[in-house]
């Protein structure tokens, strides 16, 4: 009995360590954006190009915002032991993520923002970093969606879902910050 309690405590501590380490990882992932922010300041590129498609930008950000709510609801579902709903929400988030990427690529293909301008340089470099984070998020979303069935995740064992949720929320907030930063400021 005592040994079992000790093992449970060890597992809880291990889980706390995983959570803390993952938060630290997300914290340092903000640093590249600080560098990009600094660069825009250094290059004196504080303006919004008149050719940006505001509607398309808003639609892209809206899709990402919805996907954040969707993945958070997946975490809520596994906490209630509803694996089927969790998997459904994870797959839907993947779909929304793909839609986001499709909109980004469409906007890119329109060439409405010239690359060879101060705004364009900063816009495309920051968009590239943000999109890379989204691609990484899509990969882990797919991996965890597949894994969730095989690893028998449940209300007591859902760290995988929690980690992917945190990551997706992080990259989603980065994408929305990108929208505010380049379409409004």
């Amino acid at each position: 009995m005592e040994q079992q309690a000790s093992t449970t405590m060890d597992q809880e501590r291990h889980l706390a360590a995983l959570r803390w380490g993952f938060r630290l990882f997300l914290g340092i992932e903000i640093i590249p954006f600080i560098v990009l922010f600094t660069l825009r300041y250094e290059l004196d590129a504080w303006y919004v190009a008149p050719t940006v498609n505001q509607w398309l930008g808003a639609a892209t950000a809206a899709v990402m915002l919805i996907s954040i709510f969707w993945v958070v609801s997946a975490l809520g579902a596994i906490r209630q032991n509803d694996l089927i709903k969790t998997q459904h929400r994870l797959k839907s988030t993947v779909g929304l993520g793909l839609a986001y990427m499709a909109l980004v690529i469409y906007e890119w293909s329109q060439r409405s923002i010239p690359v060879g301008t101060r705004y364009g340089e900063n816009y495309y470099t920051t968009l590239g970093v943000s999109a890379f984070y989204t691609l990484a998020g899509l990969f882990v979303l797919v991996a965890v969606a597949v894994r969730s069935g095989r690893a028998r995740l449940n209300a007591q064992n859902y760290w995988d879902i929690q980690a992917v949720t945190w990551y997706w929320v992080f990259q989603g907030l980065a994408a929305i910050a990108f929208y505010i930063y380049f379409y409004w400021i």
Binding site: R13, L18, L39, L43, V129, D160
Partner: protein
């Protein structure tokens, strides 16, 4: 995810040796992504291999390499919930594949660092061959020499200086010293190690794509004007820095959460404090420099105008040195910690002013981000120089705390001049000279006078080789009995230590004089009046190189053939000495319950742990 570590008997490991499979899959990865890039690029008629395609292809190669060495079974399959059919080897083959045991990963990192040290040291020998005489002799073109300087600096900084003490000794020793059985992210750690060979090979082979002239700093606008080899510099550094980020994330999380009961922050071993502070620096500054180099890469590939004459050249310098000076402390802070880890043990005397030694490490960490612009005094107004000059001189105060603790411990002690003990004293002596000349360089008048001369080169080699490399070798001898269960030869250890000490000081103290006489950096030729002094430096540098190689040979000999070591040859009190040598996979039979500090000797010394008899493994490995 971390619980699914599969260990199988050696006979059931990979059919193909993992490293061979890694090379094969790297080739396939490169070919696939290069081909896809060539196929979808809109400008029809371009060559099959372009700067863009090799960049994308390189990503495929690194992914293929990592999967091939074992990440496919160790990371990817478990990530998707699939149990791999083969697992980690338990015999010698585990050192040549993806591993999750922190001790195996530590030895892999040490081996990677040592090989990188030999490679980059060999390049340094070639540079000194060129500088032995005033004209062009060894190299045919000046760009070849500059590529050698850049490759030497890049490999030394990013795969030796940043890695050997943290990835190598940190991975091996930190869990043992805090009484843990493993690290928190063992898979990630196993993955990170294999980025080192990928990064080193990328940088070492970069001149094949064309010479690059920026040095280890990637200076613009030089980088944008260089041949394509500079691309492999950016990519190689990306792989190497990612490895160090992984190490730091893993170790700092392990230190926060996996300390044994009683290993409070007030009792944390000095070396572990050093790894904690340096990990924080790594986690802040390495992502910063990664992003900077990605921007430089994009500047070239797209191309953009971020850092050329149309953009802001100075922005690149600022972004680089924001990382560049903390990097110096990333290198030497673990060395400071090692001084005060080893000296009390060799003196068998309680560590003097332990709290101040720790505070010194923390303040060096904090101030290291405030000194960076002293590298750019030639680009600044006088008024802008002042704060950076001030903070650079101020950082000598917390650095002095490390000296104070060391000297206070040595005072009236019966210090044992063993090989590690001797090397630590040498390290302190060398760093003192590197530090004092650093204070000179913090003063704008001297800085502007000796800028870009060999005086600066001598200064930072006194800190890096003199401070860090000497401590690295000391720590290797100190923990060799723990890692191998075998002893080295004291005669050869001391003889070779004196050899490198004399050769190092001859080479680099003479280099100070060469700098004051007007010998510039970054030039393969120079006026004839500087010939004799350069000849002396070259002979001493070659002697130093031979001394380092002989140390390596001696350590490998001791590892394989050395006499059996006593259980605790130094009478150290830290927890790693309580388990068998080498330690078993699970480190301790029972988690230690620590009841006293590790640095108390003499009459006040009491038992360190409450459960000594339960800790030591019953089965010797």
């Amino acid at each position: 995810m971390a619980q699914n570590v599969v260990t199988t008997p050696s006979a059931r490991v990979h059919v193909m040796p993992p490293m061979l499979r890694g090379f094969l899959w790297a080739g396939i990865g490169f070919l696939v992504l290069n081909s896809i890039t060539a196929a979808i690029r809109p400008d029809v008629g371009h060559p099959f291999v372009t700067e863009v395609s090799i960049t994308i292809g390189w990503i495929g190669a690194v992914i293929g390499w990592l999967l091939g060495v074992g990440a496919y079974e160790g990371v990817v399959l478990p990530l998707f919930g699939v149990t791999p059919r083969v697992g980690e080897a338990t015999d010698w083959r585990r050192y040549w594949a993806f591993a999750t045991d922190h001790k195996v990963v530590g030895i892999q990192y040490m081996t990677s660092s040592a090989c990188s040290f030999i490679l980059a040291g060999g390049i340094a020998m070639a540079m000194r061959a060129e500088l032995a005489t005033p004209g062009m002799t060894f190299f045919s073109f000046s760009d070849q020499y500059l590529s050698a300087v850049g490759s030497h600096g890049t490999i030394m900084m990013f795969s030796v200086a940043t890695v050997a003490l943290v990835g190598g000794l940190g991975n091996y020793m930190v869990p043992l010293m805090i009484g843990a059985r493993s690290t928190i992210f063992p898979r990630l750690s196993g993955l990170g190690q294999w980025l080192i060979p990928a990064g080193v090979l990328t940088v070492a082979l970069s001149p094949l794509l064309g010479y690059w002239t920026t040095g280890w700093r990637g200076y613009e606008p030089l980088g944008s004007q260089d041949a394509s080899g500079i691309i492999f510099y950016y990519l190689g550094v990306a792989a190497l820095t990612m490895s160090s980020i992984i190490v730091s994330l893993n170790l700092v999380t392990t230190i926060v959460f996996n300390r044994a009961p009683g290993v409070t922050w007030a009792r944390l071993p000095l070396f572990v404090w050093g790894i904690t502070t340096v990990s924080i620096l790594n986690l802040i500054w390495l992502p910063e420099i990664q992003m900077t180099f990605i921007l430089e890469l994009l500047d070239r590939l797209v191309p953009l105008n971020l850092f050329n004459a149309s953009g802001q050249v100075l922005a690149q310098l600022e972004l680089f040195w924001l990382f560049g000076h903390p990097e110096v402390y990333i290198v030497v802070v673990p060395a400071f910690a090692l001084w005060n880890e080893i000296i009390p043990v060799m003196a068998q005397k309680s560590l003097f002013a332990r709290s101040w030694a720790v505070i010194g490490l923390i303040f060096v960490m904090m101030l290291s981000g405030l000194v960076w612009a002293h590298h750019m005094f030639t680009n600044m107004r006088n008024s802008e120089m002042f704060p950076f000059s001030f903070f650079t001189e101020m950082i000598s105060i917390p650095t002095g705390f490390a000296f104070m603790a060391a000297l206070g411990t040595l005072w009236k002690s019966r210090y044992r001049l063993t090989t590690p003990g001797l090397l630590i004293l040498m390290s302190i002596f060398n760093f003192l000279h590197g530090g004092i000349t650093g204070v000179f360089l913090a003063d704008p008048p001297i800085n502007l006078q000796v800028h870009d001369t060999m005086f600066v080169v001598a200064h930072f080699h006194y800190t890096i080789i003199g401070g860090m490399v000497f401590s690295w070798i000391a720590a290797t001898y100190y923990w060799l009995p723990k890692m191998t269960g075998r002893m080295y030869s004291e005669f050869w250890g001391k003889f070779l230590s004196i050899w490198i000490f004399l050769a190092f000081n001859t080479a680099f103290s003479t280099m100070f004089l060469a700098g004051l006489m007007g010998m510039n950096r970054w030039v393969p030729t120079y006026p004839p009046y500087l010939g004799p002094i350069n000849w002396v430096i070259t002979i001493a540098a070659w002697t130093l190189g031979v001394g380092f190689v002989l140390h390596g040979v001696h350590i490998v000999w001791a590892w394989r053939k050395g006499p059996k070591a006593p259980e605790n040859p130094w009478n150290g009190h830290t927890l790693e000495w309580l388990t068998s040598s080498p330690p078993p996979a699970h480190n301790f039979d029972a988690i230690p319950e620590v009841i006293d500090g590790f640095y108390t000797y003499g009459e006040k010394a009491g038992p360190i742990v409450a459960n000594l008899k339960e800790i030591r493994p019953h089965v010797e490995h």
